[in-house]
């Protein structure tokens, strides 16, 4: 089971790599959306966990693009309070194809549960 983590914050990335390693997943990290799309094409992960606010390519756009290219790839969006005016970006992400969302700060256990849910269903 391969997991792709998309986050520009190395601390988050490292923490999540540890969490997924411990849980027995094979983990990759992409610093931004472009890298993420390359990795998906190369390594064909089973699930993507992406932050929404990233420097080079908006998380929402990344989600849209992933969904366009890979209709069945599960996506979990995470955010630490990003807002599009009065509405949370997480809601937007859901509309554009994120299968689940998670607000920072969260417990690694919560994320692993969502991943398990989605991969089991898939």
């Amino acid at each position: 089971m391969k997991v792709l983590i998309v986050d520009d914050d190395p601390l988050i990335g490292e923490m999540l790599v540890t969490a997924f390693d411990l849980a027995g997943y094979s983990v990759m990290v992409a610093k931004n959306g472009d890298v993420a799309l390359d990795r998906i094409k190369q390594s064909k992960p089973d699930i993507v966990v992406t932050d929404i606010i990233m420097p080079t390519r908006e998380g929402i756009e990344t989600i849209r693009e992933i969904r366009r290219l890979f209709a069945d790839l599960p996506i979990i969006a995470i955010s630490g309070g990003g807002m599009l005016d009065a509405v949370s970006l997480l809601d937007v992400a859901e509309k554009f194809g994120a299968n689940a969302t998670l607000t920072k700060p969260f417990l690694p256990q919560q994320l692993l549960e969502k991943v398990r849910e989605l991969t089991r269903a898939g």
Binding site: A86, F96, T103, P108
Partner: protein
């Protein structure tokens, strides 16, 4: 009609007549003198001409007589020679006959007038003759003549009777001369025959005038030759005056012969030739003599005529000049007289004009007008009427001269039914000289009954309006009014029009002033108030600034000075500003000031601008209440500040969340690896707890920064209040009462229930903390009417939490929503409670207000969108109207959220629309590609799948151009998504949550645009 200038007119006419008479007499005299002179001169000239004729006649006769005398003397000499030819010696020694005959023939050739010559013996026998036929000579002589020649002792020439030559038929005059010896014995008689024709030829050769005649006769009257008339030769003129009287009295002379058969009067000159017993006369036609005179007379007459004409013409010019002069003088005098009358009328007009400006009493002014026109025109009655708005009548407003005062208020028929009605209808002055023969309108019974026969009616023409008032003056006489009366009436009508116009302008001005949204006054050059508007008066009344005229007449500058002395701030600024406008012509100035009024402090904007008061610079002063604007400005400022703080806070919280995620995550994972109860584990738990507290804090910060993830839904506030009171009943101190002001009707809000719950709890705790000595906390809610200060079409509910605590100062109230601002002691509060409430309210699409009075309490109210399910929301008339329009249409609704879809379907069903549903953009496109007809498409913007609302809109536009579409979104500004979709068309966007009314209104506007 009278002709007022008639008297003096007559006087001047008679002056002109007298002058004309004199001028005629002078002209007649001149003409008479000229005529007399010309006639006398002509008569004198005629006499002169006639005298000249006489002289000519005499001279001619004399000259011809001399010529004739010379001829006859020649003949006598010739006869003397002829008588001596035969004798050669003594008697009996005569010469040869043929020789003598030759010599005699030679002699006759000497005088052409002599035809034949013969020499006779004393017994009368022919001895010798110039002709071979001597008897022809003899035949010319009658016996008596010959005998007389033979027997007479005379030696001179003797003339015979002119006789016809028996051989030739010519008239000849025989003349004879006895030839005697020296002893006197008659020896021969020489005779000659004179050719009368030859004599006539001689006369005819004379240069005589036309019509002249020459007569040669013997002195006894026997005519020898008459040129031109030959037929009289041989006849006797002895009876004619020449022979019967003139020759006897004088041997030469002239006379006038009366007209004969040819009608000609002749001037005859005559001469007696005594030697030969001959008379010669020349007759000249008097008409011929006077021919040149007649020419001269004609020229003189023409000249005289010219003179006469010149005199007459000159006289006429003189007369005209005089008449013109007289007329000018007359006009001057008449004008003077008219000016006097005009002056009287002008006094009346001026008096009325003055009164028009002084009095406010309309009716009395009308009465004065009626009196004035009747007095100044000499009319018996006068009225002033106005057309009734019904258009059927005119009403008498004022009257003068009528015996019955009841005439005022009397209704006359409009239009041709009455003189005044007709005048108002035509809008022109209508003069009636005689009502009996008037055809344009009816002679109303009232006028007939009062014996009125003539009148003038003049309409009052107000600027830009149909005439509806009319002046009427009437007389019992026919043709009682002059042109001046008409003009006078018209000037009074004009005056009246000016007054009526002025009243209209006044009320328009007052209306304009009163419509100014502020207190307004106008001051004159000295700063004295001369005009105020209704708002000014109302403000004065409301604030106890009672002055009988609301400040009119008082000096604004003095008011400012008094205010300055009593320390009113800004009074000096108004004072100085007004001085600069009034004195130095500064353009205008404005400033804002705060002022205590009866209902608290108000902000005013004062605006002073110069006003031209007919040459004097005054000022227009307005004070506009800008309290609302000020408060909105301050709210806006506050909102901007909060926004900036929010962004800052949100940014920090976001970063913190990332850090907390790492801390919490790693702690969690580490915890799995460290057994419970160890010291390591306790230390790790400490880190976890701290991280949790940090997470709570960032949650609040995000809430304030409106970056909370909300899950709005319908909240029944009554239920919510119940929950809160249930929860807090035991938590609150005993000295604090928590009341719920139950609304009359159910209040449903559209908000995140959990967050709203938290916000209200926060407010209640704040209220509790504000009442250390106890008090009451009151929770209430109400549905705000749509007219409240919200731009949205959707209604709001207002939730209020009020306490009876300490309250807060203005400064504290102003900063109460700032994050980390707290008045509580350290450790008692985070300073984020109210900030969180504020952020939540704003994020929910509403607002929050705080009102506080120190010592009395604080009231915090949150306005959040009302739920569309509110019962009252379903009652609008607008909805029914809109619903009717939408009935029968078909809509395609694209929405992935089941709850939202249900809600929209419910509303559209209610509007009467048929609804077709699609779960995402792809499905919607499939439906739109089919043949199903739609009137409108409603689509969510952000939907799962590849096709967003904007993508759908673009595709739908290609598939079905012109199909109305509405996008729905929970995002206030989905611009980012719009950009992502590359969308560039204008499509109405309905913000979620929306109400039934908002949906209907947006649909109606889209469908109207399309229509």
């Amino acid at each position: 009609m009278n002709e007022p200038g008639q008297g003096s007119d007559g006087a001047f006419a008679s002056v002109v007549r007298r002058f004309r008479l004199k001028l005629s007499a002078i002209a007649a005299l001149i003409i008479l003198a000229v005529a007399t002179h010309v006639i006398l001169e002509l008569l004198r000239e005629r006499d002169h001409q006639l005298d000249e004729g006489h002289r000519q006649a005499r001279a001619l006769s004399q000259s011809l007589a001399e010529q004739t005398g010379r001829l006859f003397s020649g003949i006598e000499v010739m006869l003397d020679l002829a008588g001596h030819l035969p004798a050669h010696g003594p008697v009996g020694t005569e010469r040869q006959s043929d020789q003598v005959q030759t010599e005699l023939r030679d002699l006759t050739r000497l005088l052409p007038e002599v035809r034949e010559i013969a020499v006779l013996s004393p017994d009368g026998a022919v001895l010798h003759a110039s002709t071979a036929y001597p008897n022809a000579v003899l035949n010319a002589f009658d016996g008596a003549h010959l005998r007389a020649a033979i027997n007479g002792s005379a030696t001179g020439l003797k003339l015979g009777e002119p006789a016809e030559n028996r051989l030739s038929g010519d008239f000849v005059l025989p003349v004879s001369k006895p030839i005697r010896d020296q002893d006197g014995t008659l020896r021969y008689i020489a005779v000659a025959l004179i050719d009368t024709d030859s004599l006539r030829d001689t006369f005819a050769a004379m240069p005589l005038r036309e019509g002249s005649a020459v007569l040669l006769a013997r002195s006894d009257g026997v005519v020898i030759v008459r040129q031109p008339d030959n037929s009289t030769s041989g006849t006797s003129f002895a009876g004619r005056p020449l022979f019967s009287s003139y020759l006897a009295s004088a041997p030469r002379g002239s006379f006038v012969s009366p007209a004969q058969s040819d009608g000609e009067v002749r001037v005859v000159g005559y001469q007696l030739l005594a030697d030969f017993d001959l008379a010669l006369a020349v007759a000249l036609h008097r008409s011929e003599l006077l021919a040149s005179w007649r020419e001269a007379a004609f020229l003189d007459s023409v000249f005289a005529l010219i003179v006469v004409v010149a005199v007459l013409f000159g006289g006429r010019i003189l007369l005209q000049g005089f008449a013109r002069e007289v007329r000018l003088r007359e006009a001057a005098v008449t004008a003077g007289a008219q000016a006097d009358r005009q002056a009287v009328r002008q006094q009346v007009v001026a008096g009325l004009g003055q009164y028009a400006f002084e009095t406010g009493d309309h009716e009395e002014f009308f009465e004065r007008v009626a009196e004035a026109i009747s007095r100044a025109t000499g009319g018996d009655f006068a009225t002033l009427v106005r057309a009734e708005s019904s258009g059927e009548h005119v009403r008498v407003l004022a009257a003068a001269g009528w015996p019955d005062p009841g005439i005022v208020g009397f209704l006359l028929p409009a239009g041709p039914g009455s003189h005044t009605g007709f005048t108002i209808e035509t809008g022109q002055t209508v003069v009636a000289g005689d009502y009996e023969t008037e055809a344009r309108f009816t002679w109303h019974k009232v006028l007939r009954d009062h014996g009125v026969h003539s009148g003038i009616a003049v309409p009052v023409l107000q600027t830009g309006r149909q005439p509806n008032v009319c002046l009427h003056v009437l007389s019992t006489r026919k043709n009682a009014f002059s042109d001046d009366d008409i003009h006078f009436m018209e000037s009074i009508a004009h005056l009246l029009a000016v007054r009526l116009d002025r009243r209209v302008q006044h009320s328009l001005r007052d209306a304009a002033l009163d419509s100014v949204p502020g207190l307004l006054c106008v001051v004159d050059g000295d700063g004295r108030i001369i005009l105020v508007n209704e708002q000014w008066r109302a403000h004065a009344r409301d604030n106890g600034l009672d002055h009988p005229e609301f400040g009119l007449g008082t000096s604004y500058l003095d008011v400012c000075k008094a205010a300055m002395r009593s320390g009113v701030p800004d009074a000096e600024r108004i004072h100085d500003g007004m001085i600069s406008v009034l004195r130095t012509g500064a353009r205008s100035f404005e400033f804002e000031y705060r002022c205590e009024t009866r209902d608290g402090p108000h902000w005013f904007q004062c605006f002073v601008s110069p006003v031209d008061l007919d040459g004097e610079t005054g000022a227009l002063v307005t004070h506009i209440d800008i309290t609302v604007r000020k408060s909105m400005e301050s709210q806006l400022r506050e909102a901007h500040r909060m926004e900036a703080l929010g962004q800052l806070t949100g940014g920090i919280a976001h970063d913190f969340n990332n850090l907390l995620t790492v801390i919490v995550g790693n702690s969690e994972m580490l915890a799995d690896r460290i057994p419970d109860g160890t010291i390591d584990r306790r230390m790790l738990d400490g880190v976890r707890q701290a991280a949790d507290r940090g997470a709570e804090l960032t949650d609040r910060l995000l809430s304030y920064a409106r970056r909370q993830r909300l899950d709005p839904g319908v909240v029944d506030l009554t239920e919510l209040f119940g929950e809160i009171t249930g929860l807090l009943a035991r938590t609150l101190r005993e000295d604090i009462t928590l009341e719920v002001d139950a609304a009359n009707e159910r209040c449903l809000a559209y908000a995140d229930p959990t967050r709203l719950h938290t916000a209200l709890m926060n407010l209640v705790f704040n209220a509790r903390d504000a009442m250390p000595n106890g008090g009451t906390i009151k929770l209430s809610c109400e549905l705000l009417p749509l007219t409240a200060n919200h731009e949205a079409a959707a209604p709001f509910v207002r939730i209020t939490v009020a306490d009876t605590g300490e309250g807060m100062s203005e400064e504290v109230a102003r900063r109460a929503f700032e994050p980390f601002f707290t008045t509580k002691s350290v450790g008692k509060g985070t300073g984020l409670g109210l900030s969180m409430v504020h952020g939540f309210a704003i994020q929910s699409g509403g607002q929050v207000r705080i009102e506080s009075t120190p010592g009395k309490g604080t009231r915090v109210s949150i306005d959040i969108p009302a739920s569309a399910d509110n019962p009252s929301e379903l009652k609008g008339d607008t909805l029914e109207y809109i619903g009717d329009r939408l009935r029968g249409m078909t809509a395609l609704v694209v929405e992935d959220d089941d709850r939202v879809l249900d809600y929209i379907r419910l509303l559209l069903d209610d509007f009467g629309l048929a609804v077709c549903e699609a779960r995402d953009g792809t499905e919607a496109l499939r439906i739109l590609s089919s043949h199903v007809d739609f009137d409108i498409v409603l689509s969510d913007v952000i939907m799962p799948g590849e096709v967003s609302g904007y993508d759908l809109a673009t595709a739908a536009h290609k598939l079905r151009p012109g199909l109305p579409m509405i996008l729905m979104s929970g995002y206030a500004d989905p611009g980012m998504i719009e950009k992502l979709s590359g969308f560039d068309r204008e499509i109405p966007l309905l913000r979620k949550p929306f109400t039934r009314r908002a949906l209907a209104a947006t649909m109606a506007s889209v469908l109207r645009d399309r229509a």
